[in-house]
């Protein structure tokens, strides 16, 4: 019996820890578009190291995951989705650190700084008439930024279904 309770507590702790630092807005949005969700965990991203560059692994060693979610709909519906995502992320306490807004495309970068290392980054996007959101938990070690050249961009674009987004 004791063992059962220990397992339940451990399971609950794991769930809580896994959800800490993740955006509730992104989570809720991903449930509304179950066919347009792409998750890339660190182990998967490591496989995109086309040159087997050790610095690339150092670059992403504190990166937990990338999550890309986008809409089926387009046009005005997508624009209202984008605006909703923006409001939701802001209401969670994310701080906008960069933004680009033009008639046809919008891109807002937010950060939720929790305890030092475990920051969560969210990018809300409106492009090509569609809306989407990219969540990055953890961070890139900028000392190894040059190793970004070893990223297999084509493979990553395929995994993220970026072609669909265009």
């Amino acid at each position: 019996m004791k063992k059962k309770w220990t397992l339940i507590i451990l399971f609950c702790t794991f769930i809580v820890q896994a959800s800490l630092g993740q955006s509730k807005t992104v989570e809720a949005f991903s449930k509304t578009t179950p066919h347009n969700n792409v998750y890339l965990y660190q182990s998967m991203i490591r496989m995109l190291n086309k040159d087997k560059n050790p610095d690339f692994n150092m670059l992403i060693r504190k990166l937990d995951h990338l999550k890309f979610v986008y809409t089926d709909s387009s046009g005005t519906i997508a624009m209202s989705v984008f605006q909703g995502l923006d409001k939701g992320v802001q209401s969670e306490g994310f701080e906008e650190i960069a933004s680009f807004d033009s008639k046809d495309s919008k891109c807002h970068l937010y950060e939720l700084d929790t305890d030092g290392d475990e920051g969560t980054w969210v990018v809300t996007m409106f492009y090509g008439g569609r809306a989407g959101v990219l969540e990055m938990k953890g961070y890139l070690d900028m000392k190894y930024l040059n190793a970004l050249g070893s990223l297999n961009i084509d493979k990553m674009a395929n995994l993220l279904n970026v072609e669909d987004f265009r």
Binding site: E95, E96, I97, A98, S99, F100, D101, S102, K103, L109, E111, D141, M142, K143, L145
Partner: protein, 173 residues
């Protein structure tokens, strides 16, 4: 009676401080005004974003200096209006405040276009660089705030593809 006067003075001071902090750079007023206007492209970068550059490790001495310069910046705001018939009138409005409160750094002018650079400088430290320009139906405003090294920014301007910034190259010489 004294208490009432003191309270009014405190409230007035608070309003003044709030008013000053609400307009932190030379284009905030216009950035807010045209926030919902689709004819304008808006770009904003916060100090946190620039701060990330501080972690970049560069091998080249020039690149190191450039990274140091960027990491000292506290914010960038840019407003680009295309197909704006009233571009010249917006430009005239936009230079009123800097003309009165900032130091003019450079003016480039011909029949159909005008570009002005302004700076806010105190004790040899430049805390804001403002660029305002118009040509025919377009108007551009850009405000850069932080600890600005004009010589380095002019070098950086070569790499930045911002219309009008090429004139800054002469400043650093």
């Amino acid at each position: 009676m004294n208490k009432i006067i003191r309270s009014i003075a405190i409230i007035a001071l608070l309003f003044m401080v709030t008013g000053m902090s609400a307009q932190t750079n030379g284009i905030d007023k216009f950035y807010e005004k045209y926030q919902q206007d689709d004819r304008f492209t808006k770009i904003s970068i916060s100090s946190k974003m620039f701060g990330l550059f501080a972690n970049f490790e560069m091998d080249d001495a020039n690149e190191k200096e450039m990274v140091k310069t960027i990491s000292k910046l506290k914010g960038l705001k840019m407003l680009v209006g295309e197909s704006i018939p009233e571009a010249k009138s917006i430009f005239t409005q936009a230079i009123k405040r800097p003309a009165a409160e900032m130091e003019e750094l450079m003016v480039v002018q011909d029949k159909s276009q005008e570009l002005r650079f302004y700076i806010t400088e105190s004790a040899g430290v430049i805390s804001e660089l403002l660029m305002v320009s118009y040509s025919e139906n377009s108007v551009v405003m850009m405000s850069l705030v932080g600890d600005i090294d004009l010589k380095q920014i002019s070098k950086l301007s070569k790499k930045m593809d911002i219309e009008g910034f090429e004139h800054l190259e002469n400043v650093g010489k």
